[in-house]
């Protein structure tokens, strides 16, 4: 079997413009980037540099004004909403700064949620959800609701949820932003472990420690990559 050597993420001259009142904002100005399979990339830069916009394009939750975006060898820049949604479900896992767990579901149910959408049989998804929670160190907290979990625990549940459907790519937007230093460190080491187990990770962050834990850093400024 020939190993797949194509980058898992590939952007070519991607631009993203927004209308802001009467003005036009150029959030991304012709960005080209490749992320290799199994890599761990941190995108850093000052506020307003376009890093979140870049992450949104990679996560297929936004579309470029021009240029191309290819994820797992599929062109995603011109997908319909339905295609994009389905693509995200099976290929991308998201981790947000504010966790965004469903408050009325238990930790196990939160993790199982994307699998239910992907029509994974109940027994299988329950088993996998338990497995993922064990992986992130929360076996004993399966039945707890988000309100009963600490910030760090919630973020770990969110990470487990992001991994539910064996995504090709894990994207994280300021995953340690809401956490104290100690908990942040736990998350950083979890990401490292995930990556060493083969998960491709792209994070956007202000957290120096998280950025330093990555294999590669991409610096952005004013909508452009200045150092990769």
């Amino acid at each position: 079997m020939i190993p797949d050597v194509a980058p898992i993420v590939s952007l070519r001259e991607a631009r993203r413009d927004y209308a802001l009142g009467a003005e036009r904002v150029h959030a991304l100005q012709g960005v080209s980037l490749d992320v290799e399979r199994g890599d761990y990339v941190a995108i850093v830069g000052p506020s307003g540099c376009g890093k979140s916009t870049l992450l949104n394009l990679i996560g297929v939750i936004d579309q470029p004004t021009s240029g191309t975006v290819t994820i797992a060898r599929k062109r995603v820049d011109a997908m319909s909403d339905r295609e994009a949604t389905s693509f995200r479900l099976h290929n991308i896992g998201f981790v947000f700064q504010r966790f965004y767990l469903m408050p009325i579901l238990s930790a196990l149910e939160n993790v199982a949620l994307p699998m239910a959408e992907a029509k994974v049989p109940a027994e299988e998804r329950k088993a996998r959800a338990a497995e993922l929670l064990a992986y992130v160190g929360l076996s004993s907290r399966q039945r707890h609701r988000p309100s009963e979990l600490s910030g760090g625990e919630q973020q770990r549940v969110a990470i487990a949820r992001a991994l539910a459907n064996h995504p090709a790519l894990l994207l994280a937007d300021e995953p340690t932003g809401e956490l104290d230093a100690r908990t942040g460190t736990e998350i950083i080491s979890l990401f490292r472990r995930l990556n060493s187990d083969g998960t491709t990770i792209v994070v956007v962050t202000h957290d120096e420690d998280l950025a330093n834990a990555a294999r590669h850093k991409v610096h952005m400024l004013d909508g452009r990559i200045v150092d990769a």
């Binding site: 998201f94 949620l113 459907n165």
Partner: protein
């Protein structure tokens, strides 16, 4: 129930006199502080100069459930026919006859035969008369129905409003689900199910509350107007109307609101 029997017993025990008796209704007995055995003077005219007869209150009865009588505050006295004919100067006349037929009787045929030989009067089924003469009741019914319709329309608008607001409140959750790859239809479907459950539970609670209020309304007005008439009855058709309407509205509102939200790009829902 006991009173008429009591009255009867009292009458039986009373010494033999030629005193006639009357029956009065509960409201009258309460207002005029009368009890069985009291002697009263009765006359057909209100002026004190008119001749009056002395009678004894023989029984205190509860009035039937006639809606047109309810608010009038009239009192009802029952007398022996010949005595009333005498004091009112009516002579050998009556206003109507009430006829009870044997269980096996063919009522239509009986009506026909009576009307065939009737001279100066007509026979009707009691049921038909009741509908024709209770115009007061019909007006009140129509009014109630109109109020009912208005209440339903108003409630529907409130329900829609609140459901839509509540779904709007959850826009962030919806955004996250969409970002995770949950499809529009899945999101809408789960909101519909939730709305349906809320609607069903809410309407069940509403039925219980309505039932309790209905009990109270009947208790209050039956006591106030001294009547066995039921002012509020909850029937299975009413319950099913209420439940199905709230289901339709609740689910409809859920659909409207969620459709609006899933059409909005998830990023916009986050406020970015």
């Amino acid at each position: 129930m006991l009173l008429p029997f009591l009255a009867f017993a009292l009458i039986l025990q009373a010494p033999q006199t030629s005193q006639r008796t009357i029956a009065i209704d509960e409201g009258f007995a309460a207002e005029a502080h009368l009890k069985v055995g009291d002697r009263v003077a009765i006359s057909a005219r209100p002026d004190r100069s008119a001749p009056a007869e002395s009678v004894i209150v023989g029984a205190i009865v509860r009035r039937g459930a006639d809606p047109s009588e309810v608010a009038r505050g009239d009192f009802v006295v029952r007398m022996h026919l010949d005595q009333l004919q005498g004091i009112s100067g009516y002579g050998d006349r009556v206003d109507r006859f009430a006829i009870a037929t044997r269980p096996s009787a063919d009522i239509d045929r009986t009506l026909q035969r009576i009307n065939h030989v009737a001279f100066g009067f007509r026979a009707y089924r009691s049921r038909d008369i009741a509908v024709e003469t209770s115009r007061t009741f019909q007006v009140v019914s129509r009014f109630h129905r109109a109020i009912g319709v208005i209440t339903i329309v108003a409630s529907s608008i409130f329900l829609l409003c609140i459901m839509i607001l509540k779904v709007e409140e959850r826009r962030r959750d919806i955004a996250v689900l969409r970002l995770m790859g949950i499809s529009r239809s899945s999101v809408v479907r789960s909101i519909i199910i939730e709305a349906a459950v809320v609607a069903v539970l809410g309407s069940m609670l509403g039925v219980v509350i309505g039932w309790v209020v209905s009990l109270f309304v009947n208790w209050h007005y039956q006591a106030l107007y001294r009547t066995p008439l039921y002012f509020s009855i909850i029937t299975p058709p009413i319950v099913s109307l209420a439940v199905s309407l709230s289901l339709v509205l609740g689910v409809g509102a859920g659909v409207l609101a969620s459709m609006r939200l899933v059409r909005t790009p998830p990023l916009a829902l986050f406020g970015r």
